[in-house]
């Protein structure tokens, strides 16, 4: 990785952290409603994995899909930050035109195929995206990010089996943050190491530190190469931690302050900042300036855009339920 990329990636992770922090404030101001699940602490996973994927505008890129903790995955996949924030504000200019909200960010223009609330549902959807890629004979792959808790759904087992039997180009990224809401993994899951579970399906798998972006990138590159070369699905597990509560209403009574402090020492942004300073690529002041620049952009551009955007029109309530411009040859109505 060259120096410019290192600096850019640090800046991206700081941006993602500040973006999430700012949505927290907007939630407190009641500008954002519903459920809001923040990604703080896990930035190195989405940033590092997707850095190694084919991303950006256009149809030739990899497909990305995830659960409800989806803002950062969407942003890194290329969804404009203005539109993601506007979606959280429920505005017509939002990624999903204000119809989806925090848990359902969609941006098919960058092949970000959505955030889904039903735990475990994206497993088969991801395998389906991969089936489409394989059928079309493109070099694309599907990348599915889900939590440790999702692995206890039936869709996990059903999909791992089919992905392997059909040799689908799909990468399953397990973000193991140790908890499913307030239940610690030891109390819900018979096997501690999640990557071991897919050996039942004879699938390639590995486990890595998810707090160090360079480790994430190295591991992700190998896994992505494996999948892209047609060798079949891969399951990669990253050990990580969410710094905030599961969603907004979470007193975190299920974990100790000591545990949090231990993990905060391994904050992916701190680890990477420290390293870049040691490598004389940046100074503390540079990082401060970076944060200032990010905060200004969030406030003066992104939040401003969301605030000033129009709400969807009530007349448009029934738009997007079905195809709004169907071909009458197939739909009808039947001529009497």
């Amino acid at each position: 990785m060259n120096d410019a990329d290192k600096k850019r990636l640090l800046k991206e992770m700081i941006f993602f952290r500040r973006f999430e922090d700012r949505t927290f404030e907007a939630y407190m101001e009641r500008k954002i409603g519903g459920f809001l699940h923040l990604y703080s602490g896990q930035e190195a996973v989405a940033t590092g994995v997707l850095e190694k994927a084919m991303l950006g505008k256009g149809t030739g890129n990899d497909y990305v899909i995830t659960g409800y903790r989806d803002h950062v995955h969407a942003l890194k996949a290329g969804a404009p930050a203005r539109e993601v924030m506007a979606e959280l504000y429920g505005k017509e200019t939002g990624s999903s035109r204000g119809r989806g909200g925090s848990m359902h960010i969609f941006d098919p223009s960058v092949n970000f195929m959505g955030g889904y609330a039903l735990v475990g549902q994206p497993f088969p959807l991801a395998a389906g995206l991969a089936m489409g890629c394989k059928h079309k004979g493109t070099k694309q792959i599907a990348i599915c990010f889900l939590g440790d808790g999702a692995n206890n759904q039936g869709t996990f087992h059903e999909t791992m089996n089919m992905a392997k039997v059909w040799n689908l180009p799909v990468l399953f990224v397990c973000e193991n943050n140790g908890y499913a809401i307030g239940t610690h993994i030891d109390r819900s899951t018979a096997v501690k190491d999640q990557y071991k579970r897919v050996c039942a399906y004879d699938m390639q798998a590995s486990q890595h530190d998810g707090m160090d972006i360079e480790i994430v990138m190295e591991a992700a590159e190998k896994a992505i190469d494996f999948v892209r070369s047609g060798k079949g699905p891969y399951f990669i597990e990253f050990m990580t931690y969410r710094f905030r509560g599961h969603s907004m209403s979470d007193a975190k009574s299920y974990r100790t302050r000591e545990e949090e402090i231990e993990w905060e020492k391994r904050d992916p942004i701190k680890i990477f900042s420290k390293r870049l300073i040691e490598q004389n690529l940046l100074t503390e002041d540079d990082i401060k300036a970076m944060k200032k620049e990010i905060d200004d952009e969030i406030e003066n551009d992104i939040i401003k855009f969301a605030e000033e955007s129009p709400e969807p029109k009530v007349e448009d309530l029934n738009k997007y339920v079905l195809d709004d411009h169907p071909d009458p040859r197939w739909i009808g109505p039947l001529q009497q």
């Binding site: 119809r99 389906g128 991969a130 039936g154 869709t155 059903e158 089919m162 739909i331």
Partner: protein, 326 residues
């Protein structure tokens, strides 16, 4: 023009649509090498190969989800669920995903899947193989639900469903797969909206869908012998309902009976009753009647099963009641 069976009509539609567009695939349990429980994909595995006629493991929710994911990137999967009872296992991906993806993405994503499944009682298949469940799908926004009554609609509606950009649920029936009808040899499409008058009459409207249309037709014949001219209306499509045609027919006959094979509570008949109340209450000359299954799990015992499920005679008797003859 040749007389073909319902299952052959479905098979022909698969074949033509798969030949027309290589993005069309079929998925389901035992549909490939075995040719399908009801032969709906017979011979297609040999013709199109294992990548397009896909034998799935017994994982209804996830293979439906895989079909949905594939449809989001341009594929046109036709998913067969062996029995509508098993579709309950796929409700998460069907109802929580397929039906809502277009809406919650603000129209930016779509999932044009077709799910076909037989829903209905056959002969002594007992409680876990006799569900009808049409009412559950017709109450879900974001789905289209159609119920072809014979080979012409089975063929023409499947072809339209493959080309339509919305998720379409096609509810077939165990007892209809061998039903025959003259079907034109040239390609045609039958629309996914619109009910149909399948028998004209002036005295009473018998409303049916799926298999119950045949019960209505049989009852109408007997009523004719009594000098009662019954009109038979096939709903064809449960979502969206053709309330306009229901209104027109009731305004003509002033009397109505609704026949459904499903249980009554919160059902198709209840919905039609509500529409009639809203749209043409003052056109009614008599209280409408619903003919429906007993509110019990379907029994195994043949005598009990018969008692639980509506017959043509039940429709006939119900019509006499509406006519004030009993």
């Amino acid at each position: 023009m040749a007389e073909i069976a319902y299952w052959e009509a479905i098979r022909r539609a698969h074949d033509e649509e798969m030949a027309n567009d290589r993005m069309v695939i079929a998925m389901g349990e035992d549909i490939g090498v075995a040719g399908g429980t009801y032969k709906a994909t017979l011979g297609l595995y040999d013709k199109y190969g294992e990548d397009r006629v896909i034998d799935t493991p017994i994982s209804e929710n996830s293979y439906t989800g895989i079909g949905i994911g594939a449809s989001m990137v341009g594929m046109r999967p036709i998913i067969e669920i062996m029995s509508i009872n098993f579709a309950l296992l796929a409700l998460d991906t069907l109802v929580n995903a397929a039906a809502k993806i277009r809406y919650m993405s603000g129209g930016r994503a779509q999932c044009p899947i077709v799910m076909r499944t037989p829903g209905g009682t056959a002969h002594q298949l007992a409680a876990q193989h006799s569900a009808r469940l049409a009412r559950m799908f017709m109450s879900t926004s974001g789905l289209r639900v159609v119920t072809p009554r014979g080979p012409i609609d089975a063929y023409g509606m499947l072809k339209s469903a493959v080309r339509c950009n919305d998720p379409v649920i096609i509810i077939e029936h165990e007892q209809m797969y061998s039903l025959k009808e003259e079907v034109p040899d040239e390609e045609f499409f039958r629309p996914l909206e619109g009910a149909e008058i399948v028998r004209e009459g002036s005295d009473i409207t018998l409303v049916g869908y799926n298999f119950s249309v045949h019960l209505c037709l049989e009852a109408a014949k007997r009523l004719e012998a009594d000098g009662i001219h019954a009109e038979v209306l096939d709903l064809r499509v449960l979502k969206p309902l053709d309330r306009e045609l229901i209104r027109k027919s009731v305004e003509k006959t002033h009397r109505v009976l609704i026949a459904e094979e499903d249980e009554a509570p919160v059902g198709v008949g209840a919905e039609i009753m509500a529409l009639i109340n809203e749209d043409c209450f003052f056109a009614l000359d008599a209280q409408p009647v619903r003919i429906h299954a007993a509110d019990v799990p379907v029994p195994y015992n043949a005598r009990l099963e018969k008692a639980a499920i509506p017959s043509a005679d039940d429709v006939y008797q119900g019509a006499l009641k509406v006519m004030g003859k009993i």
